[in-house]
């Protein structure tokens, strides 16, 4: 339509106000002013625009609570605009009232296809406009309230999961797990079989040490020990599966794949011993009782998942690799790491020659066949 009327004189831009915001879209400035006046009279904040391009800009800059949209617009039609708003998840929930000619049934069908929430006919009757807008306002507010409740529940659920998983993994890994919740890649899903590298760490001679110090001191020492080796596991993105007595079980390649899992376990063992050294030095100076960490690493298939009752669930790893790592740890002396043949083969290229010495084939308790074992002092 031509500029037969003075757009600038009529298209009123109401200043933004808190509360219910309505975007009126009409290329006829008198219609826009009329609709704006009626809605503003109901305490709504009204913004008027006269073309399609301005609609998208305005909606993206400050999403309104309702759009009253004339179908006959220059450039992008009201139908096209409505379809765009409904196709974008960010704007799909904004109710759209299409304004059509009274007898224009085809427009109504097209409007329904474009996702319009309601219709108004020109000439616009005051009572009809207000009744429709109030109904949509109530619906929109109810929908928004439900959405807010859903989001609050989602935040609460994620926080509970974050707390639960922070027992097992580093805060960074916990964030990643939370981020993947609900997706098909969710790592903490049902129990499943997977390749795992298991690392056990155990404090040699600690039981004897506890007999000669006060109970309170034992707890303090254990806290120091677990703090240091847990941080070492987190630095290498290991998952802590269990902490019992003075031993710690760390898994790699779970819950997320780690192609370098054997090397990570190797680095973790070194990191644990190096980080524990100053603590150990203090203990030795204080009590003189010899102690140190013994470690074992083994790799293989295991079952990983949440195991337990509805009241107590634990992220658990079960399998031969875990049993083998536990047996190797029992064999290891203070400051010694024993690795299975499979782990040795996986890391030998990255470990200085001669660093790991063969201990020959060793028959481990509970295993029918002897396995190759390699040893190193850390």
């Amino acid at each position: 339509m031509t500029g037969a009327v003075d757009l600038a004189a009529t298209a009123r831009q109401a200043p933004p106000q808190p509360g219910f915001r309505v975007l009126v879209v009409d290329d006829d400035p008198d219609m826009a002013a009329f609709l704006g006046r009626l809605l503003a009279g109901q305490g709504m904040a009204v913004e008027s625009v006269c073309d399609g391009e301005s609609v998208m800009r305005s909606v993206l800059a400050a999403p309104p609570d309702l759009v009253v949209l004339d179908v006959m617009l220059p450039g992008i039609s009201g139908f096209e605009l409505c379809a765009r708003l409904k196709a974008d998840p960010a704007t799909a929930l904004i109710p759209v009232v299409l304004v059509t000619a009274l007898e224009d049934h085809d427009s109504r069908v097209r409007g329904i296809q474009a996702g319009a929430d309601d219709f108004l006919s020109k000439p616009v009757r005051r009572e009809e406009l207000l009744a429709r807008v109030h109904t949509l306002r109530r619906l929109h507010e109810t929908r928004r309230e439900l959405e807010a409740r859903r989001l609050a529940a989602e935040v609460q659920r994620k926080e509970a999961i974050r707390k639960a998983f922070s027992r097992y993994v580093s805060p960074r890994l916990a964030e990643r797990i939370i981020g993947e919740l609900g997706s098909e890649r969710a790592a903490f899903g049902d129990a499943h079989r997977t390749e795992v590298v298991a690392l056990f760490a155990d404090l040699r001679g600690f039981t004897r040490l506890t007999e000669s110090v006060e109970v309170g001191e034992v707890v303090g020492m254990l806290n120091e020990y677990f703090s240091v080796i847990t941080e070492a596991a987190y630095r290498n993105e290991g998952t802590i599966f269990s902490m019992a007595g003075d031993s710690l079980l760390v898994g790699f390649n779970v819950p997320f794949p780690q192609p370098d899992a054997p090397l990570r376990a190797w680095r973790t063992a070194q990191d644990m011993v190096a980080s524990f050294a100053p603590v150990l030095a203090r203990w030795t100076q204080r009590g003189g009782m010899p102690t140190g960490i013994g470690l074992g690493i083994a790799a293989g298939e295991a079952i990983v998942g949440n195991v337990g009752s509805p009241h107590y669930m634990s992220y658990t790893v079960i399998g031969d690799a875990v049993n083998t790592a536990a047996r190797l740890t029992q064999m290891a002396n203070a400051g010694e790491l024993l690795v299975s043949g499979a782990v040795y083969e996986a890391i030998r290229g990255a470990v200085p020659a001669g660093r790991l010495e063969p201990r020959g084939n060793v028959a481990l308790r509970g295993k029918s066949e002897a396995i190759a074992v390699y040893s190193t002092r850390l």
Binding site: T10, D30, F34, V124
Partner: protein, 101 residues
């Protein structure tokens, strides 16, 4: 159109919009005359269509009625009818009386 047809009742809360509304109608009348002179029936149809929508909304039923005749006349290419209704529109705008309530 009878004399009473030139009397309109407009809601008080629209009072300050009416001067611009009427100013735009006068510009519309000029646009109608220009479109008729150019035999631009599509432009006439669009202008008539807009008059139909906006007139009644403000309480100016006469604007909507004349707009409908202009839209119909433009569709059928009836120049004589268009001339008559555009002339009538000019008369209507010059004689319209507004009461706010």
């Amino acid at each position: 159109m009878s004399e009473s047809a030139y009397k309109v009742k407009v809601a008080k809360d629209l009072a300050d919009l009416i001067p611009t509304f009427l100013s735009n109608r006068k510009k519309e009348l000029e646009a109608l005359r220009a479109a008729l002179a150019a035999a631009d029936f599509e432009q006439l149809r669009q202008l008539g269509h807009r008059m139909r929508g906006v007139g009644n909304s403000y309480g100016f039923d006469g604007v909507s009625d004349i707009g409908k005749h202009i839209e119909d006349g433009a569709r059928s290419g009836d120049k004589a009818s268009l001339e008559k209704h555009i002339a009538h529109y000019g008369e209507y705008l010059s004689r319209v009386q507004i009461a706010y309530e």
